[in-house]
C-alpha cells in the first residue's frame, strides 16, 4: 500500500529525513518509535504534503501512485489521513460544518453523492456513539479552546468519519489518560481491515497494548534503523533507544 524508498527531506534548509525506507502492506499496522527530534513528525508531514517540507531525493508510492505528486487535498481524497501531533485551532469554523465539507469533498472526488446535513448528522452521531465521545464537540469551532485530550479525540473522531485507507497517527496517544487512550485505540481497531493500513507514531509502548502492531520500526536521525515485531516495542520500553543506536553504529 505504502512504499517509501530512500526518502530525503528538508525543512527550512535543514535535512531531517536522510534516506528513509519503509514499506507498509494493506491490512498492516506499522508502529514507528524513536527519540525526540528523530524526524517522526517530519515523516508524517511529508506524507500528507505539508508545504515547507521539501523532498530532495527518493520516492513514495501509495497504492501504486506517486504520492509526492499529489496536493494535500488530493492525498486526502485518495484516502490519506494525518492525525496531527498538535492540531491547530480554527476559530469561527464550526467542527460539524468543517467535517461535512471535508467528507463531501472526498466523496465528490471519488464520484460519490454528497451527504445532506441530516444524513451527515446521523453518520456523525453513530460514530460518536461507537467511540464513546460526547457530542458537544459538534457544536464548537474546530479545536478552539479544546484541551489537549479533546483535540486528540477530535482527530480520532474525524478519522472515524472520513474512514481513510492510510491512517497516520502522530503521537495521538501523548498526554492521554487511559480512557482517552482506549478511544484512540478503538478508532484504529474499528477501521482496521484488509484494505487499510496504519502508521502509528508513538513514544510509548503503552498504546501498542491496545493497538497491536504488525511491525515496529525505530526511526533515529532521519532513518529507519531497526525493524521488528511487537516484541521490539517491549524491548525499547525496557532498555531505551541507546542499544539500537549502538547496534546500528556498529
Amino acid at each position: 500500500m505504502l512504499k517509501i524508498e530512500n526518502l530525503h527531506a528538508e525543512v527550512g534548509g535543514k535535512e531531517i529525513l536522510k534516506g528513509l525506507s519503509l514499506e507498509v502492506a494493506a491490512g498492516e499496522v506499522a508502529a514507528i518509535m524513536g527519540p525526540n527530534g528523530s524526524g517522526k513528525s517530519t515523516l508524517a508531514n511529508v506524507l500528507s504534503g505539508r508545504p515547507g517540507y521539501e523532498v530532495t531525493q527518493g520516492r513514495v508510492s501509495y497504492q501504486g501512485e506517486d504520492l509526492l505528486a499529489l496536493s494535500p487535498e488530493e492525498r486526502a481524497c485518495a484516502g490519506v489521513f494525518l492525525a496531527f501531533q498538535y492540531p491547530v485551532e480554527i476559530p469561527g469554523v464550526n467542527n460539524t460544518y468543517f467535517l461535512r465539507a471535508a467528507l463531501n469533498a472526498q466523496r465528490k472526488a471519488r464520484g460519490e453523492d454528497e451527504l445532506d446535513s441530516m444524513e451527515f448528522l446521523k453518520l456523525v452521531r453513530e460514530k460518536l456513539k461507537t467511540l464513546h465521545i460526547k457530542d458537544d464537540l459538534l457544536h464548537r469551532a474546530v479545536n478552539e479552546g479544546f484541551s489537549g485530550g479533546e483535540k486528540k479525540r477530535n482527530e480520532v473522531f474525524q478519522m472515524a468519519v472520513l474512514e481513510p485507507r492510510l491512517g497516520i497517527l502522530d503521537e495521538t496517544d501523548s498526554g492521554l489518560d487511559i480512557d482517552a487512550l482506549k478511544i484512540v485505540a478503538d478508532g484504529v481497531n474499528q477501521l482496521r481491515g484488509e484494505d487499510r493500513a496504519f502508521v502509528v507514531v508513538t513514544h510509548y509502548q503503552r498504546l501498542l497494548d491496545y493497538i497491536v502492531p504488525d511491525s515496529v520500526h525505530v526511526l533515529a536521525d532521519g532513518q529507519i534503523v531497526k525493524s521488528g515485531d511487537k516484541d521490539l516495542a517491549l524491548k525499547l520500553e525496557s532498555e531505551g533507544y541507546g542499544w539500537v543506536a549502538r547496534e546500528s553504529a556498529a
Partner: protein, 438 residues
C-alpha cells in the same frame, strides 16, 4: 485640488434653487458659502490623510434631479430579504419614491421624506438641519446641508417599539450623466423608544456617481437604536457618508456596517455619549477586492460618566484594494467611569492590497478603562494545511477561513433572517479563485 473645489462650487450653483423655508434657506446659503470658501477636503488634513478624492475628478458629476424612474414593484424583488418583514423607504438617485415604498401607518412611528414633510413637523428636525458644519474636514456634510432636499425623517414616540424594522434602500440607476446625490436622514427617538434601522446602498448596472449622505440620530433617555448598513455600491460609485449620533442617558446605539462594494467609500461615524450610563457599540466589516478604497472613521466622544463604547472593525483586502480604519476614543474631562474598547483586525490576501489602521485614545479623565489594539495579518498557513489535509480544496479552504474571519462581525446581527442574508451576501462576495499561494 482646484478642479475639486470647483466641483463643490459647481454642484452648489447647479443645485441652486431655494426650498422656500426661510431658516432652512438661510442655513443652506451659509453652508454653500462655507464650502465655496474651504473647498472639499484634501490629504493635507489629518482626517483625510489616507483617502484621496482624486477619483472624483474623473467623474463628470452633476447634481441629481428628481426625474422619475421606470421601475415597477417587481423590479425591487432582487433586493428582498427572505423572512424579514420590514417597513420600507426606497430612494432612487437621491429622491424618495413613495410608490415603491411601504410606510408604516402609526403615530408611534412617523416616517416621512424631507421633500414632502410639512412645516410643523420639519420644525422638530430644525436643530439637526441647522447643525453647523464648520471645519474644512466636514466639508462634505456642509455640502450636504447646502444641497440636500430629500431624505428620511423618522420619529419614534416615547416608549414606542415598532414591530418591524425600517429599511432604507438607496438605489442608483444609470443616467447619461454621473449624478451627485445628497440625502439627509434624521431620526429622533423619544424616551425609551426603540427602532431597528437597515440601510442598503445598491445599484443596478454599473453607474458612476457620488452619493453624499448625512445621518443624524438623536436618542432620548433610555432609547435604543439598532443600525445596520449593507453597502453594495457599484464599482464605479463613490459614497461619502457621515453618521452623527447624540445619546442621552441610558440610551443604546448599536451599529453593524458591512462594506462590500463601491469605488471610493468613506464613512464617518461620530458618536457623542452625552448622557451618563449610555452605551454604543459600533462594529464593521469591509471585504474588498479590485481597486476599491474604503475608509471608516469612528469617533467615540465620551462626554459623561459611566458610558461604555465598543468599536470593533474587521477587514479583508484582496487584489489592489485599500482600506483605512481610524478609530478615536475621546474621554472628556469628568467622564469618569468610562469603559471603552477598540479593535481593528485585518487580513491581507494580496501583496498589492493595503490597509492603514490607526486607533487613537485621547483621555482627559482619570477613572477610565480603555483598551485598544490593531492587527494586520495573512491567512494562517497551519489552518490552511489542516483544512486541506482533510480533503478541502485550497480555494474552498481560503473561503472558509476568510468567511470565519468575517463571521465575527456578521454574527452580531440579532435577527436570524437578516444574519443569514448578510452572511450570504458576504460569502457570495468573497474571492473564490485566487492566485496560487504555493
Amino acid at each position: 485640488m482646484r478642479q475639486r473645489d470647483s466641483l463643490a462650487r459647481r454642484l452648489i450653483e447647479q443645485a441652486g434653487a431655494e426650498v422656500g423655508v426661510d431658516w432652512w434657506d438661510s442655513v443652506r446659503r451659509d453652508h454653500a458659502q462655507r464650502v465655496a470658501d474651504t473647498g472639499l477636503p484634501s490629504r493635507r488634513q489629518e482626517n483625510w490623510r489616507y483617502t484621496s478624492l482624486a477619483r472624483l475628478d474623473k467623474q463628470e458629476l452633476e447634481p441629481a434631479r428628481n426625474r422619475g424612474h421606470a421601475l415597477q414593484a417587481e423590479d425591487m424583488a432582487p433586493f428582498g430579504i427572505p423572512d424579514w418583514p420590514a417597513e420600507r423607504m426606497v430612494f432612487i438617485n437621491g429622491f424618495f419614491v413613495p410608490e415603491l415604498s411601504c410606510l408604516p401607518d402609526s403615530m408611534d412611528l412617523r416616517v416621512t421624506s424631507l421633500r414632502s414633510v410639512d412645516d410643523p413637523q420639519l420644525e422638530g428636525f430644525r436643530p439637526l438641519l441647522e447643525r453647523q458644519f464648520q471645519s474644512p474636514e466636514s466639508a462634505f456634510a456642509a455640502l450636504n446641508t447646502a444641497i440636500a432636499v430629500d431624505g428620511a425623517l423618522i420619529e419614534v414616540a416615547a416608549g414606542a417599539q415598532p414591530e418591524h424594522p425600517l429599511e432604507c434602500i438607496y438605489l442608483t440607476l444609470p443616467e447619461e450623466q454621473a449624478l451627485a446625490c445628497h440625502l439627509r436622514n434624521m431620526i429622533i427617538l423619544g424616551e425609551g423608544a426603540r427602532l431597528s434601522l437597515m440601510e442598503r446602498f445598491v445599484s443596478m448596472g454599473e453607474p458612476s456617481y457620488l452619493s453624499n449622505c448625512v445621518n443624524q440620530f438623536r436618542l432620548s433617555e433610555g432609547a435604543r437604536l439598532t443600525h445596520v448598513r449593507l453597502q453594495q455600491e457599484s464599482s464605479a460609485g463613490s459614497l461619502i457618508t457621515r453618521t452623527d449620533v447624540e445619546q442621552s442617558e441610558r440610551s443604546h446605539y448599536e451599529y453593524c456596517g458591512i462594506d462590500l462594494g463601491g469605488n471610493l467609500v468613506r464613512h464617518d461615524i461620530n458618536v457623542s455619549l452625552e448622557g451618563s450610563d449610555s452605551a454604543a457599540s459600533v462594529a464593521g466589516l469591509y471585504a474588498l477586492d479590485g481597486e476599491r478604497h474604503v475608509d471608516n472613521h469612528v469617533r467615540m466622544d465620551h462626554r459623561s460618566r459611566d458610558a461604555r463604547s465598543e468599536t470593533f472593525f474587521k477587514g479583508v483586502m484582496d487584489d489592489r484594494s485599500r482600506a483605512v480604519f481610524n478609530g478615536k476614543v475621546v474621554v472628556q474631562p469628568g467622564a469618569d467611569g468610562t469603559d471603552a474598547s477598540q479593535t481593528n483586525r485585518n487580513l491581507l490576501l494580496s501583496r498589492q492590497a493595503e490597509v492603514d489602521t490607526k486607533p487613537e485614545l485621547e483621555i482627559y479623565a482619570d477613572d477610565v478603562k480603555c483598551a485598544h489594539g490593531a492587527t494586520v495579518g495573512q491567512l494562517d498557513e497551519d489552518q490552511m494545511f489542516y483544512l486541506r489535509s482533510r480533503g478541502i480544496s485550497q480555494d474552498d479552504a481560503r473561503v472558509l477561513l476568510i468567511y470565519a474571519f468575517c463571521r465575527q462581525v456578521v454574527d452580531r446581527l440579532e435577527s436570524e433572517s437578516l444574519r443569514d442574508y448578510v452572511a450570504g451576501q458576504v460569502l457570495g462576495h468573497l474571492p473564490g479563485n485566487q492566485e496560487e499561494t504555493e
